[in-house]
């Protein structure tokens, strides 16, 4: 067989070209923002969603295959192509199907397909398998190929009958990237509870370069003129990191590295493995069927083998004899601190608890925020580790030592019972040091104000994960703010997931809705739990808590035009309080959640040691999110669009419509001073009260425009209740992946001052009567608004542009009828 398209190996690849680093989120965002998605992507998404739904309880492999093109002209005549016939991908897909996987086959259009690849037109021409029938009027399969064809046919029909194969085509690199992202996200969403049953087998030959849409010629590039064609290509962002980390976290990834120089191959493949955290990857310059089969089987077997072995050997006795910490992070961290961190590994007595301990230690170390990367490897004590402390991947047979007996075979239950042996292990923890000092300046925009800031952070100051952060901020409302924050784990007292944090601060803020300027100097000390970085499938997140003490000196200074109520509050005051908050968050996104809930409960007790006024303050907020269906079922029959090997094409609806319900409630209860002769509590402070209204909570009102007001000053209230319902729907003709939505909302809220004196001149009202009458008024006289608008979620903040209609308001409340703009991270 003569290959006419094989490149000369020695000149095909530029050896001097640098490796592109993994894409940052901005690269990816920028790519998808500035390039059009394929017009068929929405209908394709419906089919993919249906396919995944059908196989939600089955293992699914996404196999990419074939080469991508980079068009140089819109009405394409010329393009740059990555050569690939699709042999590896199509062959691999067959093996995955045999191994029980459902396969999404993302392939270059007209490249080889599973099963039909055996009889392609060019290599094994299907006509060569046919002979004329004896009657000269029929076609028969040549007897010598009959058995082979029958086997292929059976497998093909089995896959078709059970809808196990979805064929998804692409041609250009742009189509490939959009489709890959869409499928990954669908897999990530629909198999969120069991992502470990998802496998990516990325065998496509994807171009490293592309021509941005803005530079693509509309018509055929003319050959007159200089006679030369100079093309300036941009690098295609590397998406694999995002695939691993965000699109489908928890999935197994098998990627390939093409090198024509075998001396470079192992090193680069290993580099890619470490960079992208993939599980397997190697690709030579020759496509060898046996090698493909070995790789696929290795990928499938590794996953199943590991799960099975874990289950079978969960109670096997193991003991970690020593832990070796390597890397820059290990050198800069105190030995005793690391020993405390490693303690769970030493305490593990069986394999199951050991792996759990490794997870815990990884989570704790990564959560310290002082390491750029943390890897934990286990090895038999007798085996050597290589120079960098991590076992060589090329000799990887990780399961023989951990799970197997001397022959490398896995223990079964009988063997384990009989052997009674204890496996001694060494652990190697590689800690890549993050920058120990950095300084940055920037601007912030959100919650109705803009700020410029400078920040300096010192990490791991004393080798015990201590972090000192110094911030200075100046802004439109925050006239100045200086904050020094020192946090450290206290392993002798607190669990590793908790940190002790001490903050000293001085902030000066203009409060335009109450005609005053507030200067706060103080310090707080608190312990807080650090959120887990490991997202284990099916595991609910643990609640985040804070418990602390705060002492502040506060000054309220009146602005010109302040009302008499605000002037009454002018001056200095002290506050000493203990506070606690607990938050539980299962949302998939903070800014644009489609499912999950959020709850936060806070309380504060002030007046400790007789310092300042005494009060109890409590607040609660929640958010609930649901994804609703919206799009009608669709049917696809176009030959250019993907299809399953099945006759049924009806699909379930796919939606981006979501419903959100948020609530807020709060109570500020002033306490009479024990030293005071009066039972009447002192008045509450302007700075302790609740505020309500504005684009971030009850829309249709100005910021803090709801509740007690003196002239144009909002005084805040001591009892708060608010709720909001928002419906977000996709915008027609806008890409579904664009985070732009129609927004319809209904908000209600009420803010009251507690009547602690009452109207009776003889008897003071009781606590229960005050609370019940306040609750009744909160529920009976809410201020209500509604409206519609647009919502855009930038990675940094959520932007809303709404047309608001207040429906019910108190006479002096600051209503906002018309356009209202909101920016922030938290909305009702």
């Amino acid at each position: 067989m003569i290959h006419t398209s094989g490149p000369k190996a020695e000149t095909a690849v530029d050896r001097e070209a640098p490796e592109f680093p993994p894409a940052q989120s901005t690269d990816e965002d920028s790519y998808f923002k500035h390039n059009d998605e394929p017009s068929y992507l929405a209908s394709l998404q419906v089919q993919v969603a249906e396919f995944i739904k059908i196989h939600k309880d089955r293992k699914i492999a996404l196999v990419t295959s074939g080469g991508t093109t980079v068009p140089l002209e819109n009405n394409t005549v010329r393009f740059i192509d990555n050569f690939s016939a699709g042999t590896r991908g199509s062959t691999s897909a067959e093996y995955f199907l045999e191994a029980g996987y459902a396969v999404i086959f993302l392939h270059r259009q007209f490249s080889l397909l599973p099963y039909s690849r055996h009889y392609s037109h060019s290599t094994n021409c299907f006509l060569d398998y046919m002979v004329e029938g004896n009657d000269n009027h029929s076609v028969q399969v040549d007897k010598k190929y009959e058995e082979q064809m029958l086997q292929v046919l059976k497998k093909y029909q089995y896959a078709k009958r059970n809808k196990l194969l979805l064929l998804v085509p692409f041609t250009t690199v742009n189509q490939y990237l959009f489709t890959l992202r869409m499928i990954s996200q669908e897999l990530g969403q629909q198999k969120a509870q069991n992502r470990s049953t998802t496998l990516f087998y990325l065998a496509a030959a994807v171009s490293d370069f592309f021509l941005p849409r803005s530079r693509v010629a509309d018509h055929k590039i003319q050959s007159q003129g200089t006679g030369k064609l100079v093309v300036d290509l941009d690098p295609v962002p590397k998406f694999l990191k995002r695939l691993v980390d965000e699109w489908t976290p928890g999935a197994m990834i098998v990627s390939f590295k093409l090198e024509t120089d075998s001396s470079l191959l192992i090193g680069k493949a290993r580099g890619a493995l470490e960079r992208y955290s993939h599980q397997l990857g190697k690709k030579g310059d020759e496509v060898d069927q046996a090698e493909i089969e070995r790789q696929v089987k290795a990928a499938v077997a590794a996953k199943e083998y590991f799960s099975e072995l874990l289950e079978r050997n969960a109670s096997r006795h193991v003991q970690v004899r020593a832990i070796r910490a390597v890397g820059g992070g290990a050198r800069s961290t105190r030995r005793e601190f690391l020993n405390q961190q490693f303690e769970p590994i030493f305490q593990a007595r069986n394999l199951s608890s050991l792996l759990s301990a490794v997870d815990t230690v990884y989570d704790n170390l990564a959560g310290l925020g002082i390491y750029e990367n943390v890897t934990v490897a286990l090895d038999e004590t007798k085996e050597k580790v290589n120079g960098n402390g991590v076992r060589g991947l090329d000799n990887l047979d990780p399961f023989a030592g951990l799970f197997g007996n001397d022959s490398g075979r896995a223990y079964d239950n009988n063997e384990r019972r009989n052997s009674g042996s204890k496996l001694e292990l060494d652990a190697v923890v590689k800690l890549a040091q993050a920058k120990r000092f950095y300084a940055k300046t920037g601007t912030d925009l959100g919650n109705g104000e803009g700020n410029g800031y400078a920040n300096m952070t010192f990490k791991n100051i004393f080798g015990g994960a201590e972090i000192l952060s110094l911030d200075a901020t100046m802004g439109t409302r925050t006239r100045s703010s200086y904050i020094a924050n020192f946090s450290t784990p206290v392993l002798s007292v607190l669990p590793p997931q908790w940190r002790l944090e001490t903050v000293a601060y001085m902030t000066s803020r203009t409060i335009p809705w109450a005609s005053n300027e507030q200067l706060v100097r103080g310090m707080s000390t608190k312990i807080k739990s650090v959120p887990s970085l490991l997202k284990r499938p099916g595991q609910t997140p643990s609640p985040q808590q804070e418990l602390g003490f705060e002492a502040v000196w506060r000054t309220i200074a009146c602005s010109p035009g302040a009302s008499s109520s605000v002037r009454d509050e002018a001056g200095n005051s002290l506050k000493a309080s203990i506070f606690h908050s607990i938050a539980y968050d299962t949302r998939d996104s903070i800014l644009l959640a489609t499912h999950g809930n959020y709850y936060k409960f806070s309380h504060e007790l002030a007046g400790l040691g007789g310092i300042g006024n005494a009060f109890y303050k409590t607040s609660f907020e929640s958010q609930h999110n649901w994804l609703l269906f919206a799009s009608p079922p669709t049917t696809s029959s176009s030959s250019s669009e993907p299809s399953t090997i099945s006759s049924q094409q009806t699909t379930e609806p796919v939606s981006r419509t979501s419903l959100h319900i948020g609530t807020k409630a709060g109570l500020l209860w002033m306490l009479a001073r024990p030293s005071s002769n009066s039972d009447t509590p002192p008045p509450s402070n302007l700075m302790d009260r609740f505020y309500l209204g504005g684009p971030n909570d009850v829309r249709g009102f100005y910021s803090s425009g709801i509740g007690p007001r003196d002239q144009s000053d909002s005084l805040g209230g001591e009892a708060l209740l608010a709720a909001g319902v928002s419906l977000l729907t996709p915008i027609p003709k806008i890409k579904r992946t664009t985070p732009l939505r129609f927004h319809t909302f209904l908000n209600a809220g009420n803010l009251l001052a507690l009547d602690r004196i009452g109207s009776s001149t003889t008897t003071a009202p009781t606590t229960s009567s005050i609370l019940s009458s306040t609750a009744a008024e909160l529920l009976n006289t809410p201020s209500i608004s509604t409206g519609v608008g647009l919502l855009y979620c930038h990675p940094a903040a959520r932007f809303e542009l709404n047309i608001t209609f207040p429906l019910i308001a108190r006479r002096n409340e600051a209503t906002r009828k018309g356009i209202q703009f909101g920016v922030g991270l938290s909305f009702l």
């Binding site: 000196w553 000054t555 309220i556 200074a557 009146c558 602005s559 010109p560 035009g561 302040a562 009302s563 008499s564 109520s565 002037r567 009454d568 509050e569 002018a570 001056g571 200095n572 005051s573 002290l574 300042g612 002192p682 008045p683 509450s684 009260r689 509740g707 007690p708 007001r709 003196d710 005084l715 805040g716 209230g717 001591e718 803010l751 009251l752 001052a753 009547d755 602690r756 004196i757 006289t781 201020s783 209609f805 207040p806 429906l807 019910i808 308001a809 108190r810 006479r811 002096n812 409340e813 209503t815 009828k817 018309g818």
Partner: protein, 305 residues
């Protein structure tokens, strides 16, 4: 039409949305009754402190209080009376007291006397008298400048720390705040006082602006101190001389022999009375000559007895 103007059809749609209006909610409890006075339509004056004998402790405030006392004697109706209360300095947007809220709800601030253009306007507001004579302007300026400077220097004297705090820091805050915070506030008072000396002694203000001075406090140059006391002595000698020419009246009146208290009487009284009352053993008190002392007592009796 501006691009921000809402088009008429859109406005009609907006206006067609009904807005149900509920009654306003009650305001949170207030700490004192100054707000009530304003809400009743009365004019109210915020001052630094009011001592147990009912007098303000700062010359500016005492001057205004004296005029209020005279005015309230003349106005029998409650609505015409002016109320007065002690407050934190932060009630005033300019960080200085007295601060007057007029009954029209229009807010007016009385600036420190070092602002030369202000006393005329202030006296016009309170006195409801005709234009003052040029001589009166000169004499008032002498007090506003040199007696004022010497009062400030005396307040900055570390020996008068407690007195200064009792004058310029609200009594409730002095009781509630710890010593460390009081010392910071005391330093802030010093800074404000020194800023008043800027027209006469710019180098002093420059020193006070330094970061070190804000932390550790101020030390006054001995040459400046000597100059301040010399000029205060000269100023008081002028008034001693004036009073000696009109011993029968014992007051300046309108400087033409009138029997009613004049602007100069009130202004001089507000300083000399406080000096003799609050820092009777100070160097400044010793500079006050006999006739000026008698004048102070005479004016006090006419206003407050």
């Amino acid at each position: 039409m501006s691009i921000w103007t809402i088009p008429e059809p859109v406005r009609k749609v907006f206006d067609s949305f009904p807005l149900k209006v509920n009654e306003p909610t009650k305001l949170p409890l207030n700490g004192n009754d100054a707000g009530m006075a304003v809400s009743k339509g009365l004019t109210h004056v915020y001052v630094y402190n009011i001592a147990e004998n009912g007098l303000c402790t700062d010359p500016h405030c005492l001057e205004v209080q004296s005029w209020i006392q005279l005015r309230n004697k003349q106005n029998k109706t409650e609505s015409d009376k002016i109320t007065i209360s002690a407050s934190s300095v932060h009630v005033s947007p300019t960080d200085s007291l007295p601060f007057i809220v007029e009954n029209s709800h229009k807010i007016n601030n009385i600036k420190p006397q070092s602002t030369k253009s202000e006393p005329v306007g202030r006296v016009k507001y309170l006195q409801d008298k005709g234009n003052s004579s040029s001589n009166e302007e000169v004499y008032c300026s002498l007090i506003d400048t040199w007696l004022r400077s010497c009062w400030i220097v005396s307040m900055l004297d570390p020996r008068h720390l407690a007195i200064k705090e009792s004058i310029y820091i609200l009594e409730e805050e002095r009781k509630e705040l710890p010593t460390q915070i009081l010392s910071v506030i005391s330093n802030q008072v010093n800074y404000r006082l020194i800023q008043e000396l800027e027209p006469q002694y710019p180098e002093l203000t420059a020193e006070a602006n330094s970061y070190r001075a804000r932390i550790t406090g101020y030390s006054l140059n001995s040459n400046i101190l000597a100059d301040v006391f010399d000029r205060a002595e000269e100023c008081l000698a002028v008034f001693e001389s004036l009073l000696s020419k009109n011993k029968s009246q014992a007051i300046f009146g309108d400087l033409n022999g009138g029997t009613d208290l004049g602007r100069l009487d009130i202004l001089l009284f507000s300083y000399t009375h406080l000096i003799l009352w609050l820092i009777p053993n100070s160097q400044l008190a010793r500079l006050i000559p006999p006739l000026v002392r008698a004048h102070s007592e005479h004016v006090y009796n006419k206003i407050f007895c």
